[in-house]
C-alpha cells in the first residue's frame, strides 16, 4: 500500500431537503485495497457512493483522484477517472451476449473502423479474462446467465474500460452462496493487480471476511475505520449500531418465540401442489405442506427458486396445475383470490412498490386496502374510524409521516413497508403469506416487524414467512423449509436445522 491514496474524499456534506444524509465524511482509498463500507440502511453508504460516481453533487466537500481535485458532473466524468460502480440491480443490455455487453460503448470499440471490430476485440477480452481468472461463457446471451454470472460480466465491463476503482453496491444480495465465493476470489485477484475495491454492504459477515479495512457509517457520519485483524467483532457492531448492540443480541431474540406453543389445528394444507410457471417463472412441483394455527413457517431459499410462484399460487393469483390447496378444512384450489381473502387469507407481496403501494393515495387509505368494504357508516366509508385506526397504526409501528392523510408515495422505503404491514394487521387474517417483508429495512425496523409477526401468531394467525435471508428465517420461525428449484424440503423445527445444513439445501448440494 503506497502512502499517496488513489482517491481522497474530503469533508463531504449532502442534504436531501431537511434530512442530513452525509455530515462531513472524509475517507481515503488506496490502490490495491479492498475497503468495506458497512452501515445500516439509511446510514449514507449509497449516497456517498453515488457522489463518488457522479450521480449526486455534494453540497460541500472535495474529491481528489491521485492528488488532483475533481468535479464529477455525471457518471461519465467518474468513469474517465477510472471509477466504476456495479449497482445492486445489474445494468446489462438484454438480447446481447456477455461479450457484446463487455465491449459495448467502450473506447476501444470506438477506435476500430472495421466491420470485423468484434473479432478484433475478442483476443483483448479473452486475455483479460485469463489474467483475472474469471470464468464466463462469452457467447451466452445475458438472460441465459445467472445473476452471479451477470455480475461477473458487469465487473469485466468495468475492467475492459480500465477501471482502477470498482464500487460494488450490495454485491451479495442477489447471488447464490457459490457465486459469493467466486466473487471473493475474483476480488482477491483484482486486488493483486492493483485495483481498488469498495465493497458496500450491510452484511457484516461478508464484509469482515474480505476487507482490508472497514469503514463504518452511521447516520451520515464516519464512525470509525477498522484495520483487518486489529479489532473485535463486538467493537465493529458497536460502531454500526451504537449502544443498542446489547438489546439486539441474537439469543434473547431467538427464544422469544416458544416453538412448543403452537396449536395443532391445521389451517392450510398443500397436497402434491404444482403451479403454473407462467411466462418465464419457476415451476413449483409436488409441494406437500401442513400449516398449523399460530405458527410461523419459514421458507428460506436463494432468490428465484420459486418463492414468488409458490406464494402467488397459495393466495390464488397463479393457476394450480396439479394437486390441491385445502384451507380451513375446505378445498379452495379453484376459488379465486378474492374469495380466499374473504375467507381469511392475506398476502404481503415482495415487490412493495409495484404490487403493494397506492402511491397517490393517503397513508390511511393505503392501510385499508383489502378490508375497505367493511368500514362503513351508513352509505359512506367511515373516514373518522379509518383515520383513527391509521393514527393508531402510525404510533404503534412508528411510521414516519406528517399525517395519516399524507400521500403514501412520499414515504421512505421502510415506512412504506410498515404501511403495508399495517394493512395486514388491520385485516386480521387467519393465514398470512409474507414475502421478503424485511428486505432493505434497517435492523431496528426489522426487529419491530418480527415482533409484530410474533404478536400476530400469538393471536392464532398462521404465517408463511418467505425470505431470502436465511438467518431471519432461522431466528423467528417455528418450523423451516428450504425451497430449491421449485421444490420444498420437509419442514424441520428451526432448532433441529443447523445453518450449514440449510445452506447445503439452499444451494442444492444436499437433497432432502
Amino acid at each position: 500500500m503506497s502512502n499517496e491514496p488513489f482517491i481522497r474524499i474530503v469533508n463531504i456534506h449532502k442534504n436531501f431537503g431537511q434530512v442530513q444524509a452525509l455530515k462531513g465524511i472524509s475517507l481515503d482509498i488506496y490502490s490495491g485495497e479492498i475497503l468495506g463500507l458497512l452501515g445500516e440502511n439509511g446510514a449514507g453508504k449509497t449516497t456517498l457512493m453515488n457522489i463518488l460516481f457522479g450521480l449526486y453533487k455534494p453540497d460541500a466537500g472535495e474529491i481528489y483522484v491521485e492528488g488532483e481535485k475533481k468535479f464529477f458532473r455525471s457518471p461519465s466524468d467518474a468513469i474517465k477517472s477510472g471509477i466504476f460502480m456495479v449497482h445492486q440491480h445489474f445494468k446489462l443490455v438484454k438480447g446481447y451476449t456477455a461479450f457484446e455487453n463487455i465491449i459495448m460503448g467502450s473506447e476501444q470499440a470506438r477506435k476500430i473502423y472495421s466491420p470485423r471490430w468484434r473479432e478484433k476485440l475478442r483476443p483483448l477480452v479473452e486475455s483479460m479474462i485469463a489474467t483475472y481468472g474469471i470464468r464466463i461463457n462469452l457467447d451466452s446471451r445475458v438472460e441465459q446467465l445467472s445473476l452471479g454470472e451477470q455480475q461477473r460480466v458487469e465487473i469485466l465491463r468495468a475492467l475492459f474500460r480500465g477501471a482502477k476503482l470498482l464500487i460494488l453496491d450490495e454485491p451479495t444480495t442477489n447471488i447464490s452462496p457459490q457465486d459469493i465465493e467466486i466473487l471473493e476470489k475474483i476480488l482477491m485477484s483484482l486486488k493483486k493487480a492493483g485495483i481498488s475495491i469498495i465493497f458496500v454492504s450491510h452484511k457484516l459477515r461478508e464484509v469482515v471476511s474480505i476487507s482490508d479495512r472497514i469503514a463504518v457509517l452511521r447516520k451520515g457520519e464516519l464512525i470509525k475505520i477498522f484495520r483487518r485483524g486489529e479489532y473485535e467483532e463486538r467493537s465493529l457492531l458497536e460502531a454500526m449500531f451504537g449502544n443498542i448492540v446489547e438489546a439486539l443480541s441474537d439469543n434473547e431474540y431467538k427464544y422469544s418465540i416458544n416453538p412448543h406453543e403452537t396449536d395443532r389445528e391445521i389451517l392450510l394444507e398443500l397436497r402434491d401442489l404444482s403451479c403454473d410457471p407462467g411466462d418465464g417463472g419457476v415451476q413449483v412441483r409436488d409441494v406437500n405442506l401442513l400449516i398449523y394455527k399460530g405458527e410461523i413457517l419459514g421458507i428460506a431459499g436463494v432468490a428465484g427458486n420459486g418463492q414468488k410462484e409458490l406464494a402467488e399460487c397459495i393466495i390464488g393469483l397463479r393457476k394450480v396445475l396439479k394437486g390441491s390447496i385445502i384451507a380451513f378444512g375446505e378445498d379452495i384450489t379453484h376459488i379465486d383470490h378474492r374469495e380466499r381473502m374473504r375467507k381469511g387469507m392475506f398476502y404481503i407481496p415482495e415487490d412493495r412498490l409495484a404490487e403493494g403501494l397506492l402511491p397517490s393515495m393517503s397513508v390511511a387509505e393505503n392501510m385499508i386496502l383489502g378490508i375497505h368494504r367493511k368500514i362503513f357508516k351508513g352509505f359512506f366509508l367511515d373516514n373518522s374510524k379509518i383515520n383513527e385506526m391509521a393514527q393508531k397504526m402510525i404510533e404503534t409501528l412508528g411510521i414516519k409521516t406528517s399525517s395519516p392523510l399524507a400521500a403514501a408515495g412520499s414515504l421512505s422505503g421502510g415506512n412504506i413497508q410498515k404501511t403495508l404491514i399495517a394493512r395486514a394487521i388491520a385485516a386480521k387474517p387467519k393465514i398470512l403469506i409474507a414475502h421478503n417483508i424485511t428486505r432493505g429495512l434497517d435492523i431496528l425496523t426489522t426487529r419491530s416487524v418480527h415482533r409484530i409477526l410474533r404478536e400476530m401468531c400469538n393471536e392464532g394467525t398462521a404465517i408463511i414467512l418467505i425470505s431470502d435471508d436465511l438467518d431471519e428465517v432461522l431466528q423467528i420461525s417455528h418450523r423451516v423449509s428450504i425451497i430449491y428449484k421449485g421444490r420444498l424440503s420437509i419442514p424441520l423445527r428451526s432448532e433441529m436445522l443447523d445453518r450449514e445444513k440449510a445452506v447445503m439445501l439452499m444451494t442444492g448440494i444436499e437433497n432432502t
Binding site: F16, T46, T47, N50, L55, Q88, D169, E170, L317, H337, R338, M341, R342, Y347, P349, L353, A354, E355, G356, L357, L358, P359, S360, M361, E365, L369, G370, H372, R373, F376, F379, F380, L381, N383, S412, G413, R423, G440
Partner: protein, 345 residues
C-alpha cells in the same frame, strides 16, 4: 410540496400565459395591456355576457368532470365530445317527440341525454373490458361517428327548414329547463353542474366504489391483488363519464339552444381536458379551473368582436398555461422517482 410553492408555480404560469397573449395581441395591432385587461373584465361587464359566461362555465365544468372521473381511474376518455352530442340528440328527440305531463318533461329530457351519453361510452368501455382495446383510440373514433349522427338527425325528419344551418326544430316549451333568472334568461344549468361536482366528489372520496376507482388508478396491480375488480372500475369510470358528458349535452339543448344544432360541441372537449389536467381531476379545483377557462374563452371571443384579435387567443393562453405547469411538474417527477429508486436499495 407546500401550498406556497404551488401558488408561486401557478402564478408564474399565469403570468407567462398572459405574456404570450400580449405578444399575439400586439402582433394583430392592438394595445396588449388593455387587450389582456379586457379579456378578464369583459365577461363581467354586463348581465348578458355574464349569463353567457355562467352557461359556458356550467358546460365546461360538467365536461371536465366527465373527463376527470376516468382520469382518476387512470383511463383517458377523450370521447366526451361524442357522449355530449349523443346526450344532446337524446334530449332533442325526447323534447320534440315525447308528450309527457309538463312537470316531468325537463327531468325526462335530462335522463334521456344522460342515458344516451352513458350508452355511447359503454361501447368503448365494453371493448376495453372484453378485449383490452385502448380507450383513447376507441373513444376518439366514436366522436367522429357522433358528428354524422347529429347531421343525420339535424338534416332529417326533425330538420328546421327555416334555418340556414343544419339544426332541428325547437323542443316543446314544457321541456325547457326551469330558469333561475329571467332577464337575461338563465336556466338551472349552473346549479345542476355544481350539484354534480359535489356528488362526484362525495362519490370519489367517501364511497367504497369511489375508493376502488381511485385505487385502480393509483396502482392497478396492487388493487387487483387486494381484491378490487380493476377492469370493472375502469369500465365504470368511462361509462359514468359518458353519463356526465351526456347530461352536459342535454343541458345545452334544454337550457340554452332549445334544439339540436350541428357543431354545438364547439371546442368543449379541448377546454374540458385542459381544465381537468390543470385541476388534476380534483372536483373542487375543477370549479376554479373551469371558471378561469370560461373567462378566457368568453373574454377572447368578445375581444375578437371589439378589436379583431382572433378568438383562438383563448386557446393560446390556456395552452401556454398548461405547458408551463406541466414543465414545472416534469423535473420534480423525475427527481422524485430517481431518489426513490436509490433510497429503496
Amino acid at each position: 410540496m407546500g401550498l406556497g410553492e404551488s401558488l408561486i408555480k401557478y402564478s408564474v404560469s399565469l403570468l407567462l400565459a398572459f405574456l404570450a397573449a400580449m405578444i399575439i395581441i400586439s402582433l394583430s395591432g392592438s394595445d396588449p395591456l388593455s387587450g389582456v385587461a379586457s379579456i378578464i373584465t369583459i365577461p363581467f361587464s354586463n348581465p348578458d355576457i355574464l349569463s353567457l359566461l355562467i352557461q359556458k362555465f356550467s358546460t365546461i365544468l360538467l365536461m371536465s368532470l366527465a373527463f376527470s372521473i376516468s382520469l382518476k381511474a387512470y383511463r383517458f376518455n377523450v370521447g366526451i365530445e361524442g357522449q355530449f352530442l349523443l346526450g344532446a340528440i337524446g334530449a332533442a328527440v325526447t323534447g320534440i317527440l315525447v308528450n309527457a305531463p309538463p312537470i316531468l318533461m325537463p327531468t325526462l329530457v335530462l335522463i334521456a341525454g344522460l342515458s344516451l351519453g352513458a350508452l355511447w361510452a359503454s361501447i368503448p368501455a365494453y371493448l376495453l373490458y372484453k378485449f383490452g382495446v385502448n380507450e383513447i383510440v376507441s373513444t376518439l373514433l366514436m366522436n367522429f361517428i357522433s358528428f354524422y349522427l347529429v347531421d343525420l338527425i339535424a338534416t332529417g325528419g326533425l330538420r328546421d327548414t327555416a334555418a340556414g344551418h343544419p339544426m332541428t326544430i325547437p323542443i316543446r316549451i314544457e321541456a325547457a329547463l326551469p330558469t333561475i333568472v329571467t332577464s337575461p334568461r338563465m336556466s338551472i344549468m349552473p346549479v345542476i353542474a355544481v350539484i354534480m361536482v359535489l356528488g362526484i366528489g362525495l362519490f370519489l372520496y367517501r364511497t367504497v366504489a369511489g375508493y376502488e376507482l381511485r385505487a385502480s388508478g393509483s396502482n392497478k396491480k396492487a388493487s387487483y391483488i387486494y381484491g378490487i375488480n380493476v377492469k370493472f372500475r375502469e369500465t365504470f369510470s368511462i361509462i359514468l363519464g359518458g353519463a356526465l358528458a351526456g347530461l352536459a349535452g342535454a343541458m345545452e339543448v334544454s337550457g340554452l339552444h332549445m334544439r339540436l344544432i350541428s357543431g354545438m360541441q364547439s371546442n368543449y372537449i379541448l377546454v374540458a381536458i385542459l381544465a381537468a389536467l390543470l385541476a388534476r381531476g380534483e372536483p373542487v379545483w375543477l370549479v376554479i379551473a373551469s371558471m378561469g377557462i370560461s373567462v378566457v374563452e368568453v373574454g377572447s371571443a368578445a375581444l375578437q368582436r371589439t378589436s379583431g384579435v382572433p378568438s383562438e387567443l383563448g386557446l393560446v393562453i390556456e395552452g401556454v398555461l398548461l405547458l408551463v405547469i406541466l414543465t414545472f411538474e416534469i423535473p420534480k417527477f423525475l427527481r422524485r422517482s430517481f431518489v426513490k429508486e436509490v433510497s429503496l436499495r
